[in-house]
């Protein structure tokens, strides 16, 4: 990295260095997520992916800023949803887990039983989302309650949700529960202006979703979700406050979904001029420009990063593609851990 270490580091320059490192590191996760999702989208168009493909395009900064600043090894939790490829990987999900789940590999964490974005490793702080929006908030609450029972109050749970998901009863119950229990929960609300085809005026009637925070008794943050630095700062503060015992934090990032709801959706209902309006930009090129302007990375370094990122994505996908599919004859067709109480097991079981 082209930077010089000053012999006497002032507080400001240490901060500046930390800032640079944090920004560059987040950018790497954003780039990896975008590269991976572009590849998955191409495979989808080629008919190589079973089930839906939902992309986080435009939301990588917001998602990565949370995932990256949580500490998986410390015991933190990150519950990502459909736009959180970046956050999941930044938190610690191996690239191969994503590739294997999209490609239905029997070696993946979900073993073909569930697919695509519905993946996780609950014992490593990554609960596997169910589709029902809002339902993961209370699951994270429970994980945090369990840790508290064991005397761990210094761990933080991150959970994400879209503007549409905030309209569910489950979201309300979950956030209220976290507030009542004063849990170290950080909720990231990505207000990307649409829930499938529904614009936010049919989703909520407050001026900004952050206005709800006070009603729950939680601290709210309102940021430009396309601005990586703003995302990093807000989540750093939210995580720190939650870790200090200040209770739930709710960060609302305004941005624009830069893809269809899923890859099956051409999103013709989104007026094209929204992209030129505030919050309509693409966080990835915005961050890239910033990197180059600040000379945090040189053009050569950036090119190199793009190449190596593409290589690692291609490698993971190729590997997942070469792995065996799940075999229905090897599958144990029961859903219980308590095998002797299961009904309908196969004789082969």
């Amino acid at each position: 990295m082209p930077h010089t270490t000053p012999s006497v580091a002032s507080a400001a320059s240490v901060d500046a260095e930390k800032n640079r490192e944090r920004f560059v590191s987040a950018f790497r996760w954003m780039l990896l997520a975008r590269t991976f999702e572009d590849k998955i989208a191409a495979l989808y168009r080629a008919g190589k992916i079973v089930g839906g493909v939902y992309l986080g395009r435009g939301q990588e900064a917001f998602s990565a800023a949370l995932g990256m600043q949580l500490d998986q090894k410390h015991g933190d939790v990150f519950a990502g949803l459909i736009r959180d490829q970046a956050g999941r990987m930044a938190f610690g999900e191996p690239l191969l887990d994503s590739a294997r789940t999209y490609l239905g590999s029997a070696e993946g964490p979900m073993r073909g039983r569930d697919g695509n974005i519905h993946r996780g490793r609950p014992l490593r702080g990554m609960p596997a989302m169910i589709s029902h929006l809002g339902a993961m908030i209370s699951v994270v609450n429970g994980m945090l309650m369990a840790k508290r029972f064991r005397g761990r109050t210094d761990v933080v749970g991150g959970a994400t949700i879209g503007d549409g998901g905030t309209s569910t009863g489950a979201f309300h119950e979950g956030l209220n529960q976290a507030a009542v229990e004063r849990l170290p929960l950080v909720v990231a609300v990505a207000d990307n202006q649409f829930a499938y085809s529904t614009a936010t005026e049919h989703q909520y009637a407050c001026e900004n979703l952050v206005d709800r925070a006070i009603g729950y008794g939680v601290r709210g943050y309102r940021i430009d979700g396309t601005d990586l630095e703003a995302c990093l700062e807000a989540f750093a503060e939210a995580i720190e406050r939650a870790r200090r015992g200040e209770g739930p934090q709710m960060v609302v990032g305004k941005l624009l979904r830069l893809a269809g709801h899923g890859e099956h959706d051409d999103a013709r209902y989104i007026p094209p001029d929204l992209r030129d309006k505030p919050f309509g930009g693409d966080c990835l090129p915005l961050a890239r420009e910033r990197l180059l302007d600040e000379k945090w990375l040189s053009q050569d370094e950036l090119d190199e990063l793009v190449t190596t990122t593409q290589e690692s994505v291609d490698e993971a996908v190729a590997r997942a593609q070469s792995e065996p599919d799940p075999n229905p004859f090897r599958e144990s067709w029961h859903a219980l851990a308590t095998k002797h109480l299961a009904e309908g097991t196969l004789p082969a079981d």
């Binding site: 964490p109 979900m110 039983r113 569930d114 519905h118 996780g120 490793r121 609950p122 014992l123 609960p127 596997a128 169910i130 589709s131 029902h132 339902a135 993961m136 908030i137 209370s138 699951v139 994270v140 609450n141 429970g142 994980m143 945090l144 309650m145 369990a146 840790k147 029972f149 009863g169 489950a170 119950e173 979950g174 209220n176 529960q177 009542v180 029961h334 859903a335 219980l336 851990a337 308590t338 002797h340 109480l341 299961a342 009904e343």
Partner: protein
Amino acid sequence: MAITYLDAIREAQSRALEEDENVYIYGQDVAAFGGAFKATKGLSERFPGRVIDAPISEDAIVGSAVGAAIEGMRPIIEMQFADFSSIGFNQIINQSATQFWRTGVPCPITIRLPSGGTEGSGPFHSQSLESIYAHYPGLIVMTPATVEDAYGMLLEAIRIDDPVIFCEHKLLYYHLKADELPKTILPVGKARIARAGRHATVVACSAMVHEALRAARELAEEGWQIEVVDLRSAKPIDTDTILASVARTGRLLAVSESFPWGGLTAEVVSRVSAEGFHLLDAPPQRLNSKDTPIPYHPNLWRAHRPTWQTIAAATRNLIQL
């Protein structure tokens, strides 16, 4: 000293809290107040911090239990009434029931449902939901009919590494008594012959076992020996014990307090028809509540659910088929 069905439920929870530090109780009014039915009375004082009042948020209550279970806890959830578990339905059937199968991480949670009708409780405080939950893969559904089973099966439910829906009948809470708590019980998954007989088999669970037993006593005076099978769990169903009973009697009546469309009685009849058709001397019969919401007024309520009188009538009819 007599121990009631409700005492047994409280004692089982107390013992579980004592034996395993991963156990905690979470539900509405369960802490200092001791629960709407007093099933957790005194437990918050004995186990500080481990009996927690929840907001009126059944979805979040169950969701958080799943999260805690992922982390190795063994939550006991008290629904204030079985009926309100509908608000937590999504978390029960989609989150808890799929967790182990999807991720390989067990989900040991126990959800206690104060179930069944009582006089004056009406449509929203009377439901029996065992059939609904038994429909979903990944759940175990227990329906204890005795004080012994209320105790032993609840302890077992808490130890089991899967989500257990524990249907405890409100009518049995105070009236059903035993002299002492059991040392051992029949394993979960096994049905019990509550009364032996040779002319017909009545299969029932929970409070309906007692109605069936009363009907059997009544029919005994008429010279008919009725075998009563207490299912004990709605899932799994102990098909072997039912078939063995039908092999002895040749006749089957399946009784349940839940609604008539589909459900537990239909499942029992279908299994016996499919696997024990050759054992049957008459078409297998079902008796359920009526196909309306559960009425409030005692006159209507008593006519809505199966009782010993209607079970006796249905059994007489069955014997004559």
